[in-house]
């Protein structure tokens, strides 16, 4: 009997080392670590295919892909990352309406990004860059030739990132609805921080994609 009492006492004093805040945050970080490997594998495959094609077999990306538009898209994602941290800053200071405004701006950034990517893809497909072919003429007007794997690698990697943006926008909308209903306060806001982690990660991945796919 005495023994059972001791057990009950132990159970009462036991506190889980992972609080709801830190558990959610750790969960998101672990997901992001795994997701890094997904993108890493895609980019490594791209590097291997490109190296295998050689300097002549692979077109310089600037011959096919417009840099100006994607530079604007990069800037847009950086802006939306800024509005995301501003939203978190606002709620940690207890300002709900300011958080909702900044969350809405972040969502707008994501939606415009998706729109620009859809526009870019449409133009590229019209230009002749598909999963099985590359354009006959580059942006400079000169006749071009190279590996037809340019299209699949490009669409897979930017598409996988675009899916992440889409998911992020949905995720942000859910958090915004919670915010509008008054779920978050200066004390309870770790969910906003966690959606921020995801959103900044999408920005971080775009920085890599922009460098490897468009600039290099």
């Amino acid at each position: 009997m005495e023994h059972a009492n001791t057990l009950d006492d132990t159970r009462e004093v036991y506190e889980p080392s992972l609080t709801p805040d830190s558990l959610g945050k750790l969960g998101m970080w672990i997901f992001l670590v795994g997701d890094t490997m997904s993108f890493g594998a895609l980019l490594a495959a791209y590097a291997a295919i490109r190296a295998g094609a050689g300097a002549i077999g692979w077109l310089p990306p600037s011959e096919i892909l417009g840099i100006n538009l994607t530079a604007g898209m990069t800037f847009l994602l950086i802006c939306s990352s800024l509005t995301m941290v501003k939203a978190l800053e606002a709620i940690q200071n207890g300002n709900v309406s300011r958080m909702c405004t900044f969350l809405a701006l972040t969502i707008a950034g994501g939606v415009i990004f998706m729109g620009l990517q859809a526009y870019e893809w449409t133009e590229l497909i019209k230009h002749g860059l598909t999963l099985t072919s590359i354009p006959e003429h580059g942006l400079s007007g000169a006749a071009i030739s190279g590996s037809t794997l340019f299209g699949p690698t490009f669409y897979t990697i930017t598409g996988f990132h675009g899916l992440h943006v889409t998911g992020g926008v949905i995720y942000l909308i859910v958090i915004l609805i919670h915010g509008l209903r008054g779920r978050y306060t200066a004390e309870f806001n770790h969910e906003v921080e966690i959606v921020g982690l995801y959103w900044h990660f999408v920005d971080l991945i775009w920085i890599m994609v922009f460098t490897f796919i468009y600039l290099l």
């Binding site: 490594a44 295998g52 950086i78 941290v85 800053e89 982690l197 900044h200 971080l204 290099l216």
Partner: protein, 111 residues
């Protein structure tokens, strides 16, 4: 500062200016034609600098426990290994020759 990470926010707007400036530098570096190796190293360096800024300040990694940073760094190191291990398979001279040689034969027979 490390004790109260959420109360003192870093100056996010400064990080934003840095990211914007680094993006412009990246484009300037990428535009002219020169050695792909030097260009690659410069661009990868700039991209990593931007990634570190985003992770450290926007994702608050700098203000978390050191262990978390080590966990996050691991896949990046593995990715570098992944690329290095794939490279020889496709760039070795013998492999290249094996791919090129049959093509030449096809041209001969058609003549």
């Amino acid at each position: 500062m490390a004790d109260t990470p959420h109360k003192e926010h870093p100056k996010y707007i400064n990080i934003f200016y840095w990211l914007a400036a680094l993006t412009i530098i990246e484009i300037l570096v990428a535009m002219p034609e020169y050695s792909i190796i030097i260009k690659g190293l410069l661009l990868i360096g700039l991209a990593c600098a931007k990634a570190v800024l985003v992770a450290n300040y926007f994702m608050h990694l700098k203000f978390e426990r050191r262990t978390l940073a080590l966990i996050v760094l691991t896949p990046f190191i593995i990715c570098v290994f992944l690329v290095l291990m794939l490279m020889p398979d496709l760039t070795l001279k013998t492999r290249h020759d094996a791919l090129v040689a049959p093509k030449a034969e096809v041209i001969n027979t058609s003549r």
